[in-house]
């Protein structure tokens, strides 16, 4: 890790439209995410939580504020570098599955590798590895449309995971699932965090899911209303992630300011 923070965002502002129809989605938000951390961004719909996630994931550029990803200033990165960063370092899980129908499960999972330009054999190997990990190896050849909701979301997680990303962004990952299946998907995500140290940034309005994260950031009307300090559930993980105590303090201070 070449930086203290995986993501370091300061004073992010973002608004849509102009004139009377202008809508300020974010009005100055600062977020820092430490390596190995799981963070929940909690808020009602329209609170700006999705916008925040999009900015953090470099899917959109902020109007004001600075954003550093793994020590790189996002603004200074070329379009190509941003694409590569998203492709290699980030994984995405959305509320909707966005699986390509009529294409096999394996093909869906290896899409990021295809975009990265990996060879066919390597793609297959890594795709199968991920599917095995998610206990979907027997479904590799099936069409994505034939799967159940829980299986589909597991395929989506597989797709987010196949590039061995540093951060997985999940936007309402269980929003489309019933409680039991949702719990399974949650377990998979947190297990990935624990075993591989992958950061999770979860956007949700589900308090229970948010509570499972190390840290919660509550957002309302484009501002952070409160945030909790990192309380790692597993001591082993806290040690492994090695977050300096002072950093956590900084976070608290920043939260107070916002």
């Amino acid at each position: 890790m070449d930086s203290e923070w995986v993501i370091d965002a300061q004073g992010l502002e973002k608004s849509y439209g102009s004139g009377a129809s202008r809508f300020d989605a974010l009005k100055g938000v600062s977020v820092q995410i430490a390596p190995g951390e799981t963070v929940a961004i909690v808020g009602k719909s329209g609170s700006g939580k999705s916008t925040l996630m999009h900015l953090l994931a470099l899917l959109d550029a902020p109007d004001k504020g600075t954003l550093q990803v793994a020590g790189n200033d996002a603004k200074s990165l070329s379009k190509r570098a941003v694409n590569e960063l998203r492709n290699k370092e980030f994984g995405f899980v959305f509320q909707q599955f966005f699986l390509t129908p009529n294409v096999s499960v394996l093909e869906n999972v290896i899409l990021p590798l295809k975009i990265a330009g990996l060879g066919g054999k390597e793609r297959r190997r890594r795709g199968m590895e991920v599917l095995e990990q998610l206990e979907l190896a027997d479904k590799a050849g099936n069409k994505a449309t034939t799967l159940s909701g829980g299986q589909k979301q597991r395929v989506v997680i597989g797709r987010a995971l196949v590039n061995s990303p540093r951060v997985i962004f999940a936007d309402e990952p269980t929003g489309n699932l019933d409680t039991a299946t949702g719990a399974v998907v949650e377990d998979i995500l947190f297990e990935l965090n624990r075993s591989q140290g992958i950061n999770l940034v979860i956007v949700t309005h589900d308090e229970e899911l948010a509570a499972r994260c190390d840290r919660q950031i509550y957002i309302r009307d484009g501002l952070i209303v409160s945030r909790t300090a990192g309380t790692h559930k597993t001591g082993a993980h806290a040690a492994e992630a090695a977050i300096p105590a002072s950093s956590t303090d900084t976070l608290t201070v920043a939260g107070g300011a916002a």
């Binding site: 899917l59 492709n87 959305f94 966005f98 390509t100 294409v103 990265a116």
Partner: protein, 430 residues
């Protein structure tokens, strides 16, 4: 994304909405099919005309006659001049037309003109019959210009004008009546040609068949080399030296290296001397212009069909972009560049174009070849050697290439739209 993967993805995407792709491909099919056929007709007819031109003469010869001596009403009768007033019947113009004959002085004058390499009078011989191996005798005529022409051969070789033996190129209609089993069988055989001299005595002249030719639309009769013509002419004159002193037509060979402008200059040079000189191209130019015009109009219709099909491609791809908005958004979120998205959709357009044109050209070749075979046996059997639909690989490849280019251009707008999509808005799109 690798180019190979882009192409593979584009192909598989094309088949995702089968009905829509099929309908679009069908529209292109119609255009490509028509264009392939019209091109084939053009090529087939031009090839036939070229063969006919070859039958009429080499590209570097003039057919020379005296300039027309038609008397205009009001000028009164033309005074008789023994040195130039001989008239011969002419094949040019309406039946009964006569042209002033070319005399030996005329030939020298023409031969002395700069640019003319050689000039030979066309001696017409009226043969009576041909027979082989004392079999049945058949009426027979010899094309007087055959010594300078290139026959459309089915077997054997062209005439050798410098050969000392009498050579004959036999029209293929004579092959089986004379008792030969095939065209190749006739080559090398010795036949007898019957001729009556001016005094009424009958003679026979022997000649060797060196080739068998298809009957030509524009030049009829058998071909004979200079030696055979001379032998026949001698027989016809009945030993009277002065029998032939004037000729209707002469064939002048000009410098083959002459530019088209040089040829035109030479023509006007000869015209000022009172001779009409025409190349084979002049004689067939009008025919070819008409054929090219017709093929051009047919091609224009095919292109109109293709333009209509192009809108089909635009429509199909726009719908596809709309339908796949979220997929595009996802790919962009995963780091696919706008350029690659553009390439992907352009490739899909090209794949559709290729499918339509390849199937269209393939079906056109299949149907056209069958149709061509049927027509040459039936409706067009009077024109031997005419292959009405000639599919040239280059022109077929050109049609496929052209359609793919049109498809690519049609794909530009939808592909641009896809490339410009904002990933977030695309993902939010319901």
């Amino acid at each position: 994304m690798r180019t190979k993967d882009l192409v593979a993805t584009a192909i598989s995407n094309t088949f995702r909405s089968k009905l829509r792709t099929t309908l679009t491909v069908l529209a292109i099919f119609v255009g490509a099919f028509t264009l392939t056929l019209t091109n084939a007709v053009g090529a087939g007819v031009s090839q036939y005309v070229d063969a006919q031109v070859g039958a009429l003469g080499s590209p570097d010869v003039f057919i020379i006659t005296q300039a027309s001596d038609q008397t205009t009403a009001g000028d009164g009768p033309v005074k008789y001049d023994p040195s130039s007033s001989a008239s011969v019947s002419s094949q040019q113009g309406p039946p009964g037309t006569t042209t002033k004959a070319l005399t030996a002085t005329d030939l020298t004058k023409i031969g002395d003109t700069t640019g003319i390499v050689s000039v030979d009078p066309i001696r017409s011989v009226q043969t009576d019959y041909i027979e082989y191996d004392s079999g049945t005798q058949y009426e027979f005529s010899i094309n007087p210009t055959s010594a300078v022409t290139t026959a459309d051969l089915t077997a054997g070789a062209q005439l050798d004008s410098s050969a000392s033996d009498a050579q004959l190129v036999l029209p293929d209609t004579f092959v089986s009546p004379l008792g030969f089993t095939s065209a190749a069988d006739a080559v090398g055989a010795s036949v007898s040609i019957g001729i009556t001299d001016i005094l009424g005595a009958k003679h026979t002249v022997d000649a060797t068949v060196v080739g068998v030719s298809l009957e030509s639309l524009l030049a009829s009769g058998a071909g004979a080399n200079d030696t055979l013509i001379a032998a026949l002419a001698d027989a016809q004159s009945g030993g009277i030296e002065t029998a032939v002193t004037s000729y209707g037509v002469a064939v002048a060979q000009f410098d083959a290296a002459l530019s088209p402008d040089g040829v035109t200059a030479l023509k006007s040079d000869l015209a000022t001397q009172g001779y009409s000189a025409r190349t084979i191209e002049d004689q067939l130019g009008a025919v070819q212009t008409v054929i090219n015009g017709i093929v051009g109009v047919l091609n224009a219709f095919a292109v109109i069909a293709l333009i209509a099909a192009a809108f089909g491609i635009i429509n199909t791809l726009l719908m596809s972009v709309q339908e796949r908005t979220r997929e595009i958004g996802l790919m962009k979120a995963m780091g696919m560049s706008g350029g690659k998205v553009y390439t992907l959709f352009s490739l899909e357009a090209i794949v559709i174009g290729f499918l339509g044109s390849a199937i269209g050209a393939g079906v056109a070749i299949g149907l056209g070849t069958a149709l061509s075979a049927v027509l040459s046996q039936g409706f067009l059997s009077g024109l031997p050697g005419l292959n009405i639909l000639l599919f040239e690989p280059t022109s077929v490849a050109f049609v496929i290439g052209l359609v793919m280019l049109i498809a690519f251009l049609s794909g530009t707008l939808p592909a641009q739209r896809a490339a410009k999509q904002n990933p977030i808005e695309s993902l939010r799109y319901e």
